[in-house]
Structure formats: structure tokens, C-alpha cells
């Protein structure tokens, strides 16, 4: 055990480097500003409460996809009794008509790369 000092010093340097993104971000306080989204002007209520839809819209879309394509069930009833067509393009995009200033802003911030638009057509693709 002649090299205890060297080993401990080496470990300290390694830990400091490995955790550098964490303490750098907390010291610099320079995390990217939270995205500002263009919300629909006419409609204030989404199909589910804001927190739920924010956290799990992808699961909801997956469920809708399976129910429409595989089970032929196209009507969605919200917990408060409103009725919607289970459709990304005909329901979601009717209010959220600007993909760039809504979907993309948040997805870019979160580093998410959904492939919806490889096939589904966003309003700005038409013009």
C-alpha cells in the first residue's frame, strides 16, 4: 500500500471529471430556457388535463393508434365526457396547427426525435 495517495488522487480526478456536467450546470446556472409553446387561441382544454397530456401524450397516441388501426375503434371520450375522433391529424392538429412552434419546440428541448411526420402530414407541409 505505497500508492494510496496516488490512487485516491486519481479517483478524485476521475470523479470530478465524470460528474463535471452536473456541477458545471449547477454552478453556471446556464441551463437552456424552458421552451415557450404556441398554444391554441380558441381552445383552452386539451383532451386530458395539461399535466397528464404533457407527461404521457405519447402513450395516448400509441393507444389511439392501436385502437383505430387494429380494433376499428375511433371514438375517444374524455373523462369529462367530451367526444373526439382518435386522430393525430384530424384532432390534435386541428388545435395545435403549428407543429414547429408546438411539438418541435418541446421535442427539441427534450432531445426527443419522434418519427410521426415521416408519414403523417403536418399543416405546414401542405402549403
Amino acid at each position: 500500500m505505497h500508492d494510496t495517495g496516488k490512487i485516491l488522487a486519481g479517483l478524485a480526478v476521475f470523479l470530478a471529471l465524470a460528474t463535471s456536467p452536473l456541477w458545471y450546470a449547477s454552478l453556471a446556472r446556464s441551463s437552456a430556457a424552458a421552451p415557450r409553446l404556441d398554444l391554441p387561441a380558441a381552445e383552452r382544454r386539451c383532451v386530458l388535463p395539461r399535466e397528464v397530456i404533457r407527461a404521457s401524450h405519447m402513450q395516448l397516441l400509441d393507444e389511439w393508434r392501436t385502437q383505430v388501426v387494429r380494433d376499428g375503434q375511433r371514438d375517444y371520450v374524455t373523462p369529462d365526457g367530451r367526444r373526439f375522433d382518435k386522430s393525430l391529424t384530424r384532432t390534435c392538429l386541428k388545435c395545435h396547427s403549428n407543429e414547429k412552434n408546438f411539438c418541435s419546440r418541446c421535442h427539441d428541448y427534450a432531445g426527443a426525435k419522434p418519427v410521426c411526420w415521416n408519414c403523417h402530414v403536418k399543416p405546414e407541409d401542405i402549403k
Partner: protein, 268 residues
């Protein structure tokens, strides 16, 4: 202590009981699936209704009416516009849902030396046959294509297609096309209401299941001026398509393969 003989007897009885129990459960499920739609079921809101098990969509193509205008491509144009089908201009990469082939290609091997002059050249509309025993669905490794029990449509889930093209090989009718490249730039006018496909995905006719869900007929049927395409429920004896099949001589493509196609050709 039981001896060997008693042990084997008991084990045999237990295995028999387990197997018959499972059979009984399976038979019960099957009888429930075949249940016709009751009045009570029909009165429920659409989203709560369980699918009707007895429907089978099918189509009759009246060739006499179709051949009145051999150059007509209204059904193809309407379908391809409706579903964002690209036109790549290269037959090797062609994507098609409904198309025309000379009669002798559509019904290869049916002709003979002394048939009506010119019959073999007449353009015959072809589309997915929505087979009762679809070879494509059988080979699909991801269940991206399957036959819907409730209405007999051979459906596709493009989200699930991995582009292996087994179905293209399996389909004896050439009804399936592969997207060798991104189709978006090759669609003249993109319709927002229907998705396009992406590179590496197989596509085909779905009997306009999205229109049927809204109570509309398939786009090709609606577009046909000559009323040569007749669409309906083959399980309903009173449907127009069943009446036509009952009173006319009709053909299906490659009946010997046992796929049981649901697109019928009323022969001239």
C-alpha cells in the same frame, strides 16, 4: 406409498383433465367471437360497441361496364389521390393500390386459341383481393398485415411494417408495393387527412377502411362513372353484390391457390 402403475394412471388422468379444460375454454371464446350483433349491442354508442363478427366486405367488377371506356382511369386517379399514393414514373419502383392489366395477364392461363378477338388486351382493373386466406398475412413476421375478423378486410399497420417484403413474395396477385425511397416528393398533391408512407414500408389497398368507418363507399367505387365497381357485404344475401354474383357468371383470380379472393369479375 403409491406404486409406479398408480402414479402413471393419476398423471394420465390429470393431463387429460387439463387438455379438455383448455379445449372447452377455447370453444367458448370462439362461440363468443362469432356472436352476431344484437339489437342491444346496436343501440350502444359506437365506441362501446363490440365489432360485428359476421360481415365480409367484397367487390364485384362488372367488366362489361368497365370496358365501355377502355381508357378510363377514374378509379385509379381517385384512389391514388385519396391515399397519397406516389407516382415515381419508374415501373421498377411503382407503387399502386388499384391498377389495370390486360385481361390475359389478369387471368393468366384462362385464355385459349379461339377466344373472342382482342379479349386478352382489354384493360382489367386489379386491386387487393382481400382474401379469406391471405398468404401475405400468414408470412408477416410483425403482424403489420392481418385479416380483420369483423369485416374481412386485409389491413395494414404501417407503423409496424419493417419492410421485409415477405408479403410481396407471398401475394400471388402482385397487390403489394414497396417504397424503395421516400414517396413524399413524388405525390402530386398531398392530402393532409391521410398519412403518406415512408421509405422501407409496404403498402396496398385497404378497401378504404377509413371511409367505410365514416359510412362512405370506397373511393374507386364512388369515382366509377360506369358504376362498374359494386361494393358490399358478402355475408348479406340481400346485398347488391351478392345479387349480381347470383345472377351472373363471374371469375376470381387464381382460384386454385385456395386464397378465396373477395374481388369478383363479372365476365362478359
Amino acid at each position: 406409498m403409491i406404486n409406479r402403475k398408480e402414479f402413471l394412471k393419476a398423471a394420465g388422468c390429470a393431463a387429460l383433465a387439463a387438455v379438455t379444460g383448455r379445449w372447452a375454454a377455447a370453444a367458448e371464446t370462439a362461440s363468443k367471437a362469432g356472436r352476431p350483433q344484437s339489437a342491444e349491442e346496436a343501440a350502444r354508442p359506437r365506441h362501446e360497441r363490440r365489432p360485428r363478427a359476421s360481415r365480409q366486405w367484397g367487390m364485384a367488377v362488372d367488366l362489361r361496364k368497365c370496358w365501355k371506356d377502355e381508357g378510363c382511369r377514374d378509379c385509379i386517379a381517385a384512389c391514388h389521390q385519396e391515399h397519397n399514393v406516389p407516382d415515381l414514373g419508374n415501373p421498377k419502383e411503382e407503387v399502386k393500390w388499384i391498377w389495370k392489366e390486360p385481361f390475359e395477364h389478369a387471368f393468366h392461363g384462362e385464355g385459349h386459341d379461339f377466344e373472342k378477338a382482342g379479349l386478352g388486351d382489354l384493360p382489367t382493373p386489379l386491386l387487393c383481393n382481400h382474401c379469406e386466406k391471405p398468404a401475405c398475412a400468414k408470412v408477416c413476421p410483425t403482424k403489420a398485415t392481418w385479416r380483420r375478423e369483423e369485416d374481412g378486410i386485409v389491413m395494414m399497420d404501417w407503423h409496424r411494417c419493417i419492410g421485409c417484403r415477405y408479403c410481396i413474395v407471398a401475394c400471388p396477385y402482385g397487390s403489394r408495393s414497396f417504397n424503395w425511397r421516400d414517396p413524399r416528393p413524388f405525390i402530386k398533391k398531398v392530402r393532409a387527412e391521410f398519412p403518406t408512407r415512408t421509405r422501407g414500408v409496404v403498402e396496398k389497398c385497404t378497401f378504404c377502411e377509413e371511409r367505410l368507418a365514416q359510412g362512405k363507399p370506397p373511393a374507386c367505387v364512388e369515382a366509377c362513372k360506369a358504376k362498374a365497381l359494386v361494393f358490399g357485404d358478402l355475408s348479406d344475401e340481400g346485398s347488391e353484390v351478392r345479387k349480381l354474383l347470383k345472377s351472373n357468371f363471374s371469375l376470381v383470380r387464381k382460384p386454385g391457390l385456395g386464397t378465396r379472393p373477395k374481388v369478383y369479375y363479372l365476365a362478359p
